[in-house]
């Protein structure tokens, strides 16, 4: 359905300076799949979406949707796709209804008149009360709903959502998530970029983790988590000052590299034999006089997956918590 082969993109910035946004990216998304492209800021997520939505041409490599090459036949690709998100925008000065009416007038004609089609989308996206207000008065969540409604209006085969929940408050984020889950349920192929691990985890069938413009891992959320061990032992220290000593003990007992997090007091490490390793850990920590607030065994999070894959803690650019 969606294929990228050796996709590369270099932007020229100023005198002779170049930025490589995509570096040999390979991707294959099946019909009806919801694929999350997960990566930190600047990893190349938006550039990939811009290429698929014909907004920018690749420097090298090929990208196609339903067999139509995005460079050779951008017009053909535009018939198939809907795009929404940070690289595209709706008009602030138009009302929600006018925005959708405009998109209806510029999209594949259906039996319905543009205005009726727009009104129908307004209803489906729960925007009836706001339909005649200018979008600049909308909340972030409402804007996002108009934006996604516009992308879906022509019933595209593929929907591209570029960071659909960035900057939204938790409640709006939940409503956008519900919306995306419904779409996936109806069989629309969706490509979603996100820097939120939780979002990729909850919504997607498959996650492509990208960093520095290439795919560094791919799989279902469960596969990705399993790839770094089925279980993790997690301890929370009472004092920051015990961090180094505790790290040493974790490393030795579990025979694996513990993951760092944003807090010096939260440590976790992959373990293979469940509670036995945890007991050994607790004994050693206790013997070293390190006081704990909490300890337990759990399944790994995508944070840790990302740390394993890239060697950088996700807390810099990749945030677990969208706030």
């Amino acid at each position: 359905m969606i294929v990228a082969e050796e996709l590369s993109k270099t932007y020229r910035v100023g005198r002779g300076r170049e930025i490589t946004a995509l570096d040999d990216l390979n991707l294959e998304v099946a019909r009806g799949e919801l694929r999350a492209i997960l990566g930190p800021n600047g990893a190349g997520k938006s550039t990939a979406v811009k290429i698929f939505t014909t907004l920018t041409a690749p420097t090298w490599g090929r990208a196609s949707i339903s067999g139509i090459d995005v460079s050779r036949d951008p017009g053909g690709v535009r018939e198939l796709i809907g795009a929404s998100g940070q690289s595209t925008a709706i008009d602030e000065r138009l009302t929600g209804l006018e925005n959708l009416q405009l998109i209806a007038m510029l999209s594949r004609p259906t039996g319905l008149k543009a205005r009726d089609r727009a009104a129908d989308m307004i209803e489906r996206f729960d925007l009836v009360e706001a339909r005649d207000r200018q979008v600049k008065e909308y909340s972030g969540g409402m804007r996002r709903r108009v934006d996604i409604a516009g992308a879906l209006l022509a019933e595209p085969e593929v929907l591209f959502l570029d960071e659909p929940t960035t900057g939204l408050d938790p409640r709006s984020r939940q409503s956008v998530w519900d919306l995306i889950a419904q779409l996936a349920h109806r069989g629309t192929t969706v490509v979603l970029t996100t820097q939120y691990l939780e979002e990729a985890d909850r919504l997607s069938d498959t996650i492509s983790v990208i960093d520095h413009g290439r795919v560094i891992a791919e799989g279902t959320p469960d596969e990705l988590k399993a790839s770094i061990g089925e279980q993790r032992a997690e301890v929370t220290l009472l004092n920051d000052s015990d961090h180094e000593a505790a790290m040493g003990i974790l490393r030795r007992v579990a025979a694996a590299e513990p993951a760092r997090s944003s807090s010096l007091r939260d440590l976790s490490v992959a373990i293979t034999d469940g509670t036995r390793t945890l007991s050994a850990l607790l004994l050693e920590l206790g013997g070293a006089g390190i006081e704990l607030v909490d300890a337990g065994v759990r399944r790994p999070t995508l944070d840790e997956v990302f740390f394993e894959l890239t060697g950088t803690p996700p807390t810099d650019e990749l945030r677990t918590d969208p706030r």
């Binding site: 294929v3 932007y11 294959e28 907004l55 690289s87 008009d91 405009l102 007038m105 510029l106 594949r108």
Partner: protein
């Protein structure tokens, strides 16, 4: 995931194409741009109220001070105000387009199955509407303060037609500028810097002969002077018993017509091409 890397299968399904509906799409975008203009008071003030103020200002304030033999000053000045309003008004095309580029709205349009020329036609079409409105307002204000078209109906229509043609040509030049500069504030300030001397060091408000030497030559060869002279001629507002003195004056109508058409022939294709290659920015 399917293992089949042969996407050719999918594409064999014939698909109807809609990007030829360029007129309908242009009309839709004119509709959108007109709504925006109606909701943007600063644009309406600039194109409607400013010309009214200029007509009143020049006809009442300066007509007492400036006297040009053979014509009353209000008659003389109107062509200048028409030209000035049109030249300044054209910058709105560039800044509106740059604004739409900056906001990401044009990116949204570029993901839709439309012919990209429709976006530019929608812009210049809406701005042409604003020009017509602003010319109408100026004509009515002028008539109210005593300006008269001293030629005939044909001259009047030809004069308005020439102004509209020139405005449309300028608008396409500004489309190209907007696509190239892509910064609305820079466009506005740069064009004010350029256009103020261009309109004032011309025959818009005084005959070139009254200007000191270096300015005199600039005013004589200034394209705005040609536009003003041609309009003034068609409206019958030239000072009585004066003959064209320069090549520019003797051929003003032809020069403006030909150069407007030339601008259109150059900047329509250039702009469409530039629009299609908008993509290589980060």
């Amino acid at each position: 995931m399917t293992a089949a890397p042969a996407p050719a299968l999918d594409s064999e399904r014939p698909r109807p194409r809609y990007d030829h509906r360029i007129l309908a799409h242009s009309a839709a975008l004119v509709w959108r741009n007109v709504i925006r203009i109606k909701r943007e008071p600063s644009i309406l003030a600039f194109t409607l109220i400013q010309p009214i103020i200029f007509v009143l200002l020049f006809s009442f304030v300066y007509s007492g001070v400036i006297s040009i033999p053979g014509v009353n000053y209000t008659d003389f000045i109107m062509a200048g105000i028409f030209a000035q309003t049109i030249v300044f008004g054209a910058t709105i095309t560039a800044s509106s387009l740059a604004q739409d580029l900056q906001s990401g709205f044009i990116a949204r349009l570029r993901t839709l199955p439309i012919n990209s020329a429709a976006v530019l036609i929608g812009r210049t079409g809406a701005d042409l509407g604003v020009t017509l409105l602003s010319i109408t307002v100026m004509i009515l204000t002028g008539l109210a303060v005593g300006w008269r078209i001293r030629s005939d109906l044909v001259g009047a229509l030809a004069g308005v037609g020439l102004l509209v043609l020139f405005a449309f040509a300028m608008s396409w030049l500004m489309v190209f500028l907007g696509l190239s500069v892509r910064n609305p504030e820079a466009i506005t300030s740069a064009s004010l810097l350029l256009l103020f001397p261009l309109t004032f060091v011309s025959e818009a408000f005084v005959p070139a002969s009254t200007l000191p030497q270096p300015l005199h030559i600039i005013a004589e060869w200034n394209p705005v002077s040609a536009l003003v002279y041609a309009t003034r001629n068609l409206f019958g507002n030239l000072p009585a018993a004066t003959a064209p003195e320069t090549w520019l004056q003797s051929n003003a109508i032809g020069i403006i017509t030909v150069s407007s058409l030339a601008l259109l022939c150059v900047f329509i294709p250039l702009s469409v091409r530039r629009f299609a290659r908008l993509n290589d920015r980060l």
